[in-house]
Amino acid sequence: MDNKNSNLQAEIVRMSGVNPRKCMRCGKCSATCPAYDEMEYHPHQFVYMVENGELEPLMKSKSIYKCLTCFACVDRCPRGVEPAKLVEAVRLAVIRQQGKNHLKPEDIPPIVDEDLPQQAIVTAFRKYAK
């Protein structure tokens, strides 16, 4: 696992408050999950893959948006692992990375034209990357 990836892993673990090492691989989360068939990666895989630092496939997967956040897995997990919180943390990590794609000030003038509402320009300012 490279350094960047392990930082990201630590960040996801911190955001979720989940300790994936508590998992005993019983699979009750995935047995419980009502969105199982919609998900490419299933709740138990989230726990396992985060623990192993396989974050790229999770972050690219649509699974993070398919989780209903119903927390059935959290409720039923015998070890208190809380997989749904991990799914949400991965989702958050993706959103935060998107945040890093903010417009730079020099990007703005070329796209400003007469039809562009002023509000959009203000929004773009707000999204400036420092």
Partner: protein, 664 residues
């Protein structure tokens, strides 16, 4: 003034590696009272002990300090050595410079300095030691076994066969326990009743065994060798010595709608009942919560039909007081309640059962005479789903379930699955497992047979939910190896419920002053080396009260507990601990503080005449300690506000001398 000899042990490199033993011996030479100081590689060896004996004679020593390992290890050894050389054994003090010094320090300088200080403290204490003589107490040659399951039965038989009297107290109307409810036993599949009931009969007929069934222990006083136990024999409203167990009363009893606890409520029994055909003692019991006569005063049918006149509606609880030398706890286990696991629909469908209920459904003496039928509609089930680890291996802080592995479920589930497939080849049997744990002789082979010969579908995964739909149970589960979610329309779901200690265990532990762990299992004196003894002297552990256990393990432990009890009961006298509390009557102000804190009931108050300075006599109330009962815990010495209570061998002055020596 004492003449003290100091002996510093190297313990090979265990001590000498981080403590300069020669410097310690040299430094302690100058302490008050020390007339001799030396060091040696292994003080506990024969040569080391001879060195102590020779020094005692040569230097006319009155006390010995050994700087070595923990007193738990060799205090007895060195006391015996001193006694052999004619010294009072309580004139030996151990300075622990291994566990509490050399093993925990890496720095030679610091380690040596600490060893000197510890040695100095022991010398300071020894200077105030006085010779002590241990008293002797007689041993009551009778054992009490609490619980009449297979653990209690085996322990009682083994003790009784050795020639000692044994009483079994069982809270149910019959002995037999959980094993009597089982169908077959793994890994050999013998019928449980066939191997248990002969033992029950042996217990019932043994001249050395008395059975107090339908009884409870309500109070325990005393100490090892001399326990005073109060037993409540609950009124069964049937004269036990008259009833022949013919069962005529059960046939005639009009109250037939009582949930049958022996079949776990899967069918009904009558208000007057014998739990099962092979019950010991085979005596009827009237359930006063359901008996029409007891509730309304009108009926009396059983009394009319009883040919021997055994029915006595006015029978009262009987209190028995008996003395015992040893007590064996064999209170066993129960499956946990499924209330908090409603994802498995246990409360919603009769066809979701626990494994113990399944035992009854498969048992020839059970509610279905051994034909497997669905409890809801009595139809033959085709698809059965077994769920393992229901409530076992949960997070420690979880509100539901237990942290430990219940140990027996993997094997009995394999047994159930195998038996179903054997009897009904038209069935599909699924077992959902997290891990299959089968350590034990012929255990893994047994599980593999279920898979390979009987075609049981073992699936690595867990059931997430069970939903009753029509006459089916829709089981949603995960298959982790295939990375699939499965949906099975099942006819029955069987839950391998975690097991927990019997609910009577905690109050019993309080009565016995025996320690328990956080799960209410009794704690053994040493997890490896003293597995069948409680840390409380005279209390022994047998079976699942100490931790989850299968029948082979239980029987082995039951025999081990019995041999420990026999080892105690063959002694005529027990040597007591002379380090007991003593009350200075002149200083005692009669406040009763010590009496209240004493956990052993060793302190009593007496009115005693004292001569006053003005030559009058006055009666004062003062504390007295029974040295045979006192265990030397020291609680009274702390509670005493006037300083009248002191502990022999650990007097306040001695402890303070140690503290002073350390702080010097």
């Amino acid at each position: 003034m004492q003449r003290i000899g100091v002996f510093v042990c190297w313990c090979g490199t265990n001590i000498a590696g981080t403590v300069d033993v020669k410097r310690v011996a040299e430094a302690l030479k100058n302490e008050p009272g020390v007339v001799y100081s030396d060091n040696y590689q292994y003080m506990c060896s024969q040569a080391g002990q001879d060195m102590i004996k020779n020094a005692i004679h040569e230097y006319k020593l009155t006390g010995v300090v050994v700087c070595s390992c923990s007193p738990r290890m060799h205090e007895t050894t060195f006391r015996k050595t001193a006694a052999a050389a004619g010294l009072n054994p309580y004139m030996v003090e151990i300075a622990n410079i291994r566990e509490q010094c050399s093993w925990v320090h890496k720095d030679m300088e610091a380690g040596t300095e600490k060893a000197i200080i510890l040695g100095r403290a022991a010398i300071a204490k020894l200077n105030l030691n006085t010779p002590l003589t241990a008293g002797e107490t007689p041993v009551t040659k009778r054992a009490l076994v609490i619980g009449g399951g297979i653990a209690g039965i085996q322990t009682a038989l083994d003790i009784a066969d050795a020639g000692f009297k044994v009483d079994i107290v069982e809270k149910k109307p019959t002995i037999g326990g959980k094993m009597a409810q089982l169908d077959k036993t793994f890994p050999t599949l013998d019928c449980a009743a066939c191997i248990l009931t002969p033992k029950m009969v042996d217990v019932g007929q043994h001249e050395n065994i008395r059975i107090f069934s339908y009884s409870e222990v309500t109070d325990v006083k005393g100490f090892v060798g001399n326990f005073d136990v109060t037993i409540k024999r609950k009124a069964r409203f049937v004269k036990e010595d008259v009833c022949t167990g013919c069962g005529l009363c059960m046939e005639k009893c009009p109250m037939k709608k009582v949930p049958n606890e022996f079949n776990l409520g899967l069918d009904n029994r009558t208000a007057i009942y014998i739990p099962f055909a092979q019950a010991v003692p085979k005596v009827a019991t009237i359930d006063p919560n359901y008996c029409i006569m007891k509730k309304t005063g009108k009926c009396g049918l059983c009394s009319t039909v009883c040919t021997v006149g055994a029915i006595d509606y006015n029978q009262q609880d009987e209190i028995i007081e008996e003395k015992y030398g040893a007590i064996v706890v064999a209170t066993g286990f129960n499956p946990i309640s499924m209330d908090k696991f409603d994802e498995y629909a246990y409360s919603q469908s009769k066809d979701v059962v626990t494994s113990l209920e399944f035992e009854r459904l498969m048992n020839a003496a059970g509610p279905t005479q051994g034909t497997l039928l669905r409890p809801s509609d009595g139809k033959h089930p085709h698809t059965l789903v077994f769920v393992q680890c229901v409530g076992s291996r949960c997070e420690a802080c979880a509100e539901k379930g237990k942290e430990y592995c219940s140990k027996i479920c993997c094997m009995y589930t394999a047994k159930h699955a195998m038996l179903v497939r054997d009897k009904y080849p038209d069935t599909e049997v699924y077992v959902f497992y997290i891990d299959v744990r089968t350590p034990g002789k012929n255990f893994d082979e047994f599980y593999r047979r279920a898979v390979e010969e009987y075609g049981v579908h073992y699936i690595k995964g867990m059931v997430g939910k069970v939903a009753p739909e029509g006459d089916k149970l829709m089981v949603q589960a995960s298959d982790l190896l295939d990375n699939k979610q499965l949906h099975i329309a099942a006819d029955m779901v069987i839950l391998a419920a975690a097991i927990e200690p019997d609910e009577s265990a905690r109050s019993l532990a309080t009565m016995l002053t025996a320690s328990m762990d956080t799960n209410d299992f009794f704690t053994e004196a040493h997890p490896k080396l003293r597995p069948v003894e409680s840390p409380t002297a005279g209390i022994y552990l047998s079976g699942a009260c100490q931790g989850p256990k299968d029948i082979p393990d239980t029987v082995a432990q039951a025999g081990a507990a019995a041999s420990k009890v026999i080892g105690l009961l063959v002694k005529d006298k027990l040597t007591g601990n002379p380090c007991v509390a003593e009350s200075n009557e002149l200083m005692c102000n009669g406040c009763s503080a010590c009496e209240k804190v004493c956990p052993y009931g060793a302190i009593t108050y007496v009115d005693k005449e004292f001569r006053m300075p003005d030559r009058t006599t006055r009666v004062r109330r003062v504390a007295q300690v029974n040295p045979a009962v006192c265990q030397g815990c020291g609680a009274c010495t702390v509670a005493c506000p006037s300083g009248a209570m002191d502990l022999k061998g650990f007097a306040t002055s001695q402890i303070m001398a140690e503290v002073d020596a350390i702080c010097k």
